[in-house]
C-alpha cells in the first residue's frame, strides 16, 4: 500500500482588501484561513492515486494551532490522518528552514513514505521553493510543476509544461512532486466526510521537541533570509480620476493619453486640430 504524504499550508483567504493600504500591513484578523489552492490540487492528485491503487494519505502542515482546520478539511476530503507541526519556535521560518522542519517531521511521523506531494506554490508568499528544498533535505528525486502523474509499480511518470518544453519524466519511489493547479481541481467535501473530520479524526500535534529539532536551526532564528520591510506598491498610488458624461470622459482620455494608447496599438490616434 502506498504511503502518500501531502504538505498543505493555511493561507489567508483574501478577496477584497485584507491589507491596510495606508501602512501596507496585512490585517490578519480580517482574513480567514483557507487551504492554499495548489495544496488542494496536490491533495486531489493524492486522492486519485488512492482511489485507483489504494494507499494511505497523511496530510501535514506547519503553522499556528488554527491550521488544524485545514487538516480536518483534508480528512473530510479523504486523507487518512493529519500531522500538525506547531510551536512558537517554528515561526518566521524561511523556505529552507520550512523544508528542514517538514523533512524531519515527515521522517518521524511517516517513516517509509513513498511519495510526497506539495503544491507548486502558495498564494501568500509565493516562493515555490519549499518543494524542491524538501526533496534536497530528504535526498530523494523530485520534480516541480507537475500537471499530471501516474504510478505503476515503483515508478512515477509525470507530465509538465515548463519553459516551453512539454516533458514526460520518470522517477522511482520514494520521490516528491509539486503539483500545479491546472489539472487537479479542488473537490467538494463528500457526504460523511465531515463526520470523519470531527468524530475521532486522527490528528497528532507535534512541537519542535517532539520532532527532535534543534531550536537554533528552526524558525526565524535558523533562517538565513530576513524580511526588512513589507509595503504595498499600490498604496498611495496617484491616479487620475475621470467623472462626468461618458462622451466627455472619453474625450479627456484621448486628450491626455492618445500617445500612450496609440503607442500600444501602433497607431496615430491624434485628430487634426479643428
Amino acid at each position: 500500500m502506498l504511503k502518500l504524504v501531502v504538505c498543505i499550508k493555511q493561507v489567508p483567504m483574501v478577496s477584497e482588501l485584507p491589507w491596510d493600504p495606508a501602512t501596507g500591513t496585512i490585517q490578519r484578523d480580517l482574513a480567514e484561513g483557507m487551504m492554499n489552492p495548489a495544496c488542494r490540487s496536490a491533495l486531489d492528485a493524492a486522492l486519485r492515486i488512492k482511489e485507483a491503487a489504494g494507499g494511505e494519505i497523511t496530510a501535514i502542515t506547519m503553522g499556528p494551532p488554527m491550521a488544524e482546520e485545514i487538516l480536518r478539511e483534508a480528512i473530510a476530503l479523504g486523507a487518512d490522518r493529519g500531522v500538525l507541526l506547531t510551536d512558537r519556535k517554528m515561526a518566521g521560518a524561511d523556505t529552507s528552514v520550512t523544508s528542514h522542519t517538514l523533512a524531519r517531521a515527515i521522517e518521524k511521523a511517516c517513516p517509509g513514505f513513498d511519495l510526497i506531494l506539495c503544491g507548486f506554490s502558495t498564494i501568500d508568499s509565493e516562493t515555490a521553493q519549499v518543494g524542491p528544498q524538501l526533496a534536497e533535505e530528504l535526498d530523494i528525486p523530485g520534480v516541480a510543476y507537475v500537471n499530471e502523474l501516474e504510478i505503476s509499480g515503483r515508478t512515477v511518470r509525470m507530465q509538465r509544461f515548463t519553459d516551453n518544453f512539454l516533458e514526460t519524466l520518470e522517477m522511482d519511489l520514494p520521490g516528491l512532486v509539486t503539483v500545479t493547479t491546472g489539472r487537479y481541481a479542488p473537490r467538494h467535501v463528500p457526504l460523511g466526510g465531515l463526520q470523519a473530520a470531527f468524530a475521532g479524526a486522527d490528528i497528532v500535534s507535534l512541537d519542535a521537541a517532539a520532532v527532535g529539532l534543534d531550536p537554533e536551526r528552526i524558525g526565524a532564528k535558523g533562517s538565513a533570509t530576513k524580511i526588512r520591510n513589507v509595503y504595498s506598491p499600490t498604496a498611495g498610488k496617484k491616479n487620475i480620476v475621470l467623472t462626468g458624461a461618458p462622451k466627455r470622459i472619453v474625450e479627456q482620455l484621448f486628450e491626455r493619453f492618445d500617445d500612450k494608447i496609440g503607442g500600444a496599438i501602433g497607431r496615430d490616434l491624434k485628430t487634426e486640430r479643428k
Binding site: 493600504p21 489552492p37 523556505t95 538565513a224 533570509t225 491616479n239
Partner: protein, 346 residues
C-alpha cells in the same frame, strides 16, 4: 597583493533565448550593482556545443562565439563554462551538483538566476546545498548602505512587496522575474575571460529520467502576450453588453479577458479567464470594465504597464490600483470608446 575581486554571478539560462531575455536583463543589472560593491560580473554556462549555438541573428564576434559570446557581448566580464554531452539537456540534479561545486570553489558574493520554471526549481536546490538564503521571483534588486543585496519579493499576488536581505550567509541568492530589468545593447567587440569548468570524475546519473521532451517555442498565448487587454467583469450587466468588448478589442488589436463570475455566467469562454485560476496577462494597456478587483483577479494583472479602469464605485479595489479611474457606467464608456476610436482610426 590585490584581493580577488568579488563576483556577482548570473546563471545563463539560454534555452528560450528569443522569448526570454532574462539572463541578459540580469547581466545588465549585475553590472550596475557591481559598481557599488566593486565586483566583477560572471555568467555561468552549462550545456553542450554551446559554441555552435546562435544567439542574435546578426551576431558576430571574432573571438567568442555561441552562448559565451552572447553573454560577454551583453556585459559579462567572465564566463564559467562547462560544455559536455552530459549537459546537453537541462538536468536538475547534474546542474545542481555542478553549481554547488563551482560556488564552493569560487565563493561568489551574489548569484542571480532568472525566474523561469527551471530557475525557480534549480535555485532553491542550490541554495539548500549551500546553506544560504534565497529570495523568490524578485521585482527589484539593490545594494543598501551596508553593502547588502536588497531583494524585493512580491507576495499576495503583487499586492505586497517584501524587502529581504541575507545577513550572514553567502552567497546572497535571488531569482528574478523576467522583464524586471532592461538588457544593455550587445557590444561584439567586448572581451572577457572564459574559465572552463571540468566535470567531476564520477557523475551520478540523474534520478529523474527525461522520457520525452518537445520544444514548443511558438505556443500561442494570445491573451498572455497581448499588448492590449480588454477585461470585463460582472459590472457590465449582461452577456450582450459584454460582447461589445470584442468589438473594442478588435479596434485596439487586443484580446478580451474576463473575471470568474462572467465566465460562470457564460458571457465569456473559460479561455478568457484572467486570474489565479486562469491566465496571467502583462499588456502595455489594460482596460478593466466593471471589475471589483478581487485579489484572485488582480494577482494576474499586476504586470500591466498602464491600467484604465471603469467602475461605478470609485472605491473599488480595481479603481485604486488603476492609473486612470473612470467613475461611470462600464457599458456606456465601452460604447463611447468604440465610437471615438472608429472616428480616430482611419
Amino acid at each position: 597583493m590585490t584581493a580577488k575581486k568579488r563576483g556577482i554571478w548570473v546563471f545563463g539560462d539560454y534555452r528560450n533565448y528569443f522569448q526570454n531575455r532574462v539572463t541578459l536583463q540580469l547581466l545588465s543589472r549585475a553590472k550596475e550593482l557591481a559598481v557599488k560593491i566593486n565586483a566583477e560580473v560572471c555568467a555561468v554556462v552549462f550545456g553542450y556545443k554551446t559554441d555552435e549555438w546562435k544567439g542574435d541573428v546578426l551576431s558576430y564576434n571574432p573571438t567568442f562565439c555561441g552562448v559565451v559570446g552572447e553573454y560577454i557581448a551583453h556585459g559579462a566580464d567572465k564566463v564559467y563554462l562547462a560544455d559536455h554531452p552530459r549537459l546537453a539537456a537541462y538536468s536538475m540534479e547534474t546542474y545542481t551538483l555542478l553549481m554547488e561545486r563551482l560556488v564552493k570553489r569560487e565563493k561568489p558574493e551574489i548569484i542571480l538566476i532568472g525566474a523561469t520554471a527551471f530557475g525557480r526549481e534549480f535555485a532553491p536546490r542550490v541554495a539548500k546545498r549551500l546553506g544560504t538564503g534565497l529570495t523568490a521571483d524578485c521585482i527589484g534588486l539593490d545594494i543598501n548602505e551596508e553593502g547588502l543585496l536588497v531583494q524585493m519579493a512580491p507576495s499576495f499576488g503583487g499586492n505586497l512587496v517584501a524587502e529581504i536581505v541575507t545577513l550572514e550567509r553567502r552567497p546572497q541568492m535571488a531569482t528574478v522575474r523576467p522583464g524586471t530589468f532592461q538588457e544593455i545593447p550587445h557590444d561584439y567587440v567586448r572581451t572577457g575571460e572564459v574559465v572552463k569548468v571540468p566535470l567531476p570524475k564520477t557523475l551520478p546519473a540523474d534520478r529523474v529520467r527525461l522520457v520525452r521532451s518537445e520544444h514548443h517555442p511558438q505556443r500561442e498565448q494570445k491573451l498572455e502576450d497581448a499588448k492590449v487587454v480588454v477585461c470585463g467583469g460582472r459590472g457590465l450587466g449582461s452577456k450582450k453588453k459584454f460582447a461589445k468588448l470584442f468589438e473594442l478589442a478588435e479596434l485596439l488589436g487586443g484580446e478580451v479577458g474576463a473575471t470568474r463570475p462572467v465566465v460562470y455566467a457564460d458571457w465569456a469562454d473559460h479561455d478568457a479567464l484572467v486570474g489565479q485560476a486562469g491566465k496571467h496577462v502583462r499588456p502595455q494597456i489594460l482596460f478593466s470594465f466593471g471589475i471589483s478587483g478581487a485579489i484572485q483577479h488582480t494577482a494576474a494583472c499586476n504586470d500591466a504597464k498602464f491600467i484604465i479602469a471603469v467602475n461605478k464605485n470609485p472605491n473599488a479595489a480595481m479603481m485604486k490600483r488603476a492609473d486612470v479611474a473612470i467613475v461611470a457606467d462600464a457599458s456606456q464608456i465601452c460604447t463611447t470608446l468604440i465610437q471615438e476610436l472608429k472616428r480616430r482610426i482611419r
